[in-house]
Symmetry: D2
């Protein structure tokens, strides 16, 4: 029910502002007996960490996670796991010019409209820094579903799409864009450099695929696996669209093309001949890859002057001078993976609650 | 938490199968003192009702709603409102051929995988008939937000998009497609007739717009207004994608184009010069139109024979002979409106809980 | 989150007023594959049914339950189970005199204070009739925990306590008071007759015991098994106190007396030498009997004239003329059993979600 | 839904073990604009702090709270408020003898039964130290209900009750027992000294009263104000019983005595002539004092040797040598106040959500 929590049985809550002393997450409902240390979490945070290439914000945050509770002798106890990440490089002065004026495309005005006040330092709670807490929580969730492999990558940046025929899984970690197509990655370097030099920014489309999800996770109606993924992904900063499998493209197919036919698999279970459904039928996993795509808008923090008003209603111009990602979609990929892990781990627990078998 | 409930403060739960005696919804958390009778609900059900044109299923359901609780002398009391709709025209025999085989694109296999058994009569719980309960609940939700106007319409059918320049609000109710472009509506008649004659089906894109939503509804992080809308819409049968405002298109814009600039409005509050954001920034409403679009896949119930397997794993073919919508997206429009109403009414209550003013 | 729902994974919601057309419950989250028919529910309703002896209200309600959804070929499908009980013998005229005045000890004034209006027919939503829905839902819950035996009985009525040494399990169903002490039952006949003749009413203390609950159900901190039982039982109409095991008596024992010592049991697991704890330590079941006691206040519906005010604030007198139970605690026993079953079944699902074994 | 969270709209989650680096709470859903600093929280923690007299544990914890998020320029922003308290004086060695054996009356065995492992250092999550987080969260809740006065005190210790006629509100803070009867406080010194010298412990009964709660807070059925208080109080360590108003005593009164009569008050609203109901009717506040009493069992940590078994099932004896409260009920009083504040603040938000007025 709370505004800063996500999940049903495996449930995490995040806290902290971009420019406070720290941010963090509590992961509740974790099964006991799992081996866990900071070393299981840190690598995922490092993937999301700012400042790792010239294509992300130059804010320097080590993003070192500390486990504050829920462990005993290196294993989870079933108690809440409190994760904390200190903020190190918060330069509040960078934001002084936005204290008075509403940045277009940002939550400045809406926070004021909702709360009557706002923490303007770095966007406060609306900063993408909150997503570090998700990545940390997601690392815990991964321990619950070791059978599942989760992989997020960019399939489009600034309107330039990858060539699916050139898809190379190993390329994803070999360039600063989580791009599975080396040629596209090379083109994107110039694209992003150009946008940054212009004081502009670019959008992106991220695809997140979970492999080895067993058939049967999810639920009909309001707890559909795809509906859970939709809210999970749409809750990520800058995401404006979510689609499953064929997604919007399915609206342009005919029924007999879109429906995935089945043959008998070698293990006796159905083998699908295609995966337009993206691994979900009727809200429940089919056993195929679960495929989600999401659209990241271009950062609204641009150096190009924009027309706006201030809190008093006076018209003004603003250009954002803080250190920002020219394309937030890049660092969105690790966040998407974390949200996928959190949703799937939660669904696994829900499923075995209702069915009773350990599956 | 439950699988068949939706909402936080205004919360509804639905029950019932396509081929049981009835379906229904309970609406909980409704403020007291609202005038309510069946006449406030029935017109919305009539819009979703099957069999109103040759472009929807020929199942004949009067869909008459009965209010079973929560009223006293014509007004809501704050108690749960139980709504019931009897099933009249359930022809179970139509489905006898699907008892054994898994229909491609349907939830048959996944229900078996999850539950170990399934109610194959008309899809049971996965039938689009469940959405009648949503429409009934949505009619109650509308009473909480009389200031808001909600309108859903098809912007694309079978890959054929409307001409935005020809948008005519009054046309929406003047054709069987909820289509705001009369010329497109005329073309769609032929499209749908053709698909039905082929034993095929078509997808559609529905747009749902809420006007007069005040700035300040929603919440940051995991209860974002857009994240709530995403799960609400993705939970509708056959929806495979959801986008807000510019949606996936935003990923192809530059930051300075996508961010909506502001000038001083006549009322002293910010006036936006565009609405790429679709009325939501940082998860909170801006006061502009809230714009959601969703992709409906083509019905997987097609007469064209499809390859599949049965519960025993044997390979077979199946062609669906029941009475089905050639384009479920059409009747999805009233459902989208209902879900929009339910989300917004819930957010209104949440907002005034946290802020205390009646707004 | 909703006001009329209870439970976490096995979750039920009730609706309906005493004088509406029907009342009902939806049970959500039930595992699939359980054999269920009306015959599994009706006997429990019959135990709570009014009019079975001269010691309960003379309202004649057959309380026939109808299962409206969630079944296929006699088994649960995992879909919500909708249960409906028609109201037959609602005499609204009996309540006309209370439309204007607030009955002391009833919710009349508080409903007006909260909602600004109230359904005064038979107490509307605050009628004990709502508990029939709980009993029906509880019958479903029992199917999930066939290993557990649940038994509720009166240990005190009108201040007259049973003799624990005379406890006879078979006596409980052999008298109209669910009294395990035949001598006390005989005395209570005169007590209740006397109170009814005086136009007065009596309170009672009900004990509910669950046997064969395995060690390990429940959770620390805010989902303690005893805390769940406390809210479950306190939510029953007229209950004013709840205690676990030794309860308030524990506050008068010394630590070394109250703490239950352990020896090695024949099965190798701990055997407790006493059960002051009532089967719960640290919020988790010990494997011993789970023992809850609750205090029912005397019905506030008395024929003796009471001083009160009306909605306009004018002073008046009122004597309740409707058909009422002289001791609501009697019919509280089957309700307590139902709530115990609902809590335990829910905890079983939660436990296997977190632990993964089917236990 | 989570196991370590409490509340509906104002919701807090706690984390941390007795012997970890820190404990803490997140308060979510707090309205914006409230003045808050550590100085608003610390005094309440100081009341619960161990080591303030010889009648509580000699563990020395400064219990200094630090606000980690949710504030801007001294005011709440509507974002989650993260509160952290470092553990300073954790002597793990004190507990080494209990690593192997199950302490009678403690959660040692049940934690092992549930989780398969346990953090035996100081009871881990089941330590009363968790209640410091509640007190900190409760201090925030108090800011939401400045109109309400909350007061908890001991009415019985070791079976020795106060004289209600000698009730002196000012005495409560003038002795180490939160005892409103100075003569009883004097007697209790000897009682507690005697128990401690014997290596034993004592129980207590705490009463918590909230004054100035407006009529109309709460909800019927499963979110009754008294049901919420019951789960809140029963979730406190060592509490074994909860009663509202007359409580168990109500079961011994006749209906016409127990029902609180009404006359017209000077403000035109009903004035009750008694308060057997404890300020709650039908789950909704009456405007009278809300009165809750709870029974604390005697600490199970006693120096007197107790028979028990170890994790391997071998029989042994144990005497607890750690620093413990001879009567945990004493420090339970500030915790009860905190839980009362948290429940009432939550209900205030829920009420204005449903009614819309700021009341």
């Amino acid at each position: 029910m709370s505004f800063n929590s996500f999940g049903r049985l495996l449930r995490f809550s995040t806290w902290g502002e971009s420019h406070g002393p720290a941010i963090g997450a509590i992961v509740d409902g974790c099964p006991p007996g799992l081996n866990l240390s900071e070393a299981d979490i840190q690598p995922w945070l490092d993937k999301r960490r700012p400042g790792t290439s010239r294509f992300t914000t130059q804010r320097r945050e080590p993003d070192l996670v500390r486990i504050m509770s829920g462990l005993f002798e290196g294993r989870t106890t079933g108690a809440p796991i409190s994760l904390m990440i200190e903020n190190v490089d918060q330069r509040s002065k960078d934001y002084s010019n936005i204290a008075g004026a509403y940045r277009p495309g940002h939550a400045d005005y809406t926070y004021d409209a909702k709360y009557g006040l706002r923490d303007w330092r770095g966007g406060g709670r609306s900063s993408a820094r909150e997503t570090a807490s998700r990545v940390a929580a997601g690392a815990v969730a991964r321990l619950l579903i070791p059978e599942v492999r989760i992989r997020a990558f960019l399939v489009e940046l600034g309107g330039d799409a990858i060539d699916r025929a050139a898809f190379d899984d190993e390329a994803i970690d070999a360039n600063p864009f989580f791009c599975p197509d080396p040629a596209a990655a090379a083109r994107w370097e110039a694209l992003v450099d150009g946008a940054r030099n212009d004081g502009s920014s670019l959008g992106a489309i991220v695809e997140c695929v979970a492999t080895n999800v067993p058939a049967g996770w999810g639920a009909p109606v309001y707890a559909k696996l795809d509906a859970e993924l939709a809210t999970a992904m749409m809750s990520i900063n800058a995401v404006k669209g979510v689609e499953i499998g064929e997604g919007f493209g399915a609206a342009r197919l005919r029924g007999e093309v879109n429906a995935d036919e089945m043959r008998r698999g070698e293990d006796g279970r159905p083998r699908f001949l295609s995966n337009h459904a993206g691994g979900v039928l009727g809200g429940i996993s089919t056993g195929q890859d679960v495929v989600v795509r999401m659209a990241f808008k271009p950062t609204s923090s641009v150096r190009i002057p924009m027309r706006t008003v201030d809190a008093g209603g006076e018209e003004t111009e603003i250009s954002t001078k803080g250190r920002h990602d020219p394309c937030v979609g890049i660092r969105g990929a690790p966040v998407a993976e974390a949200m996928m892990a959190l949703v799937l781990a939660d669904q696994k627990l829900l499923h075995r609650a209702q069915r009773g078998e350990d599956r």
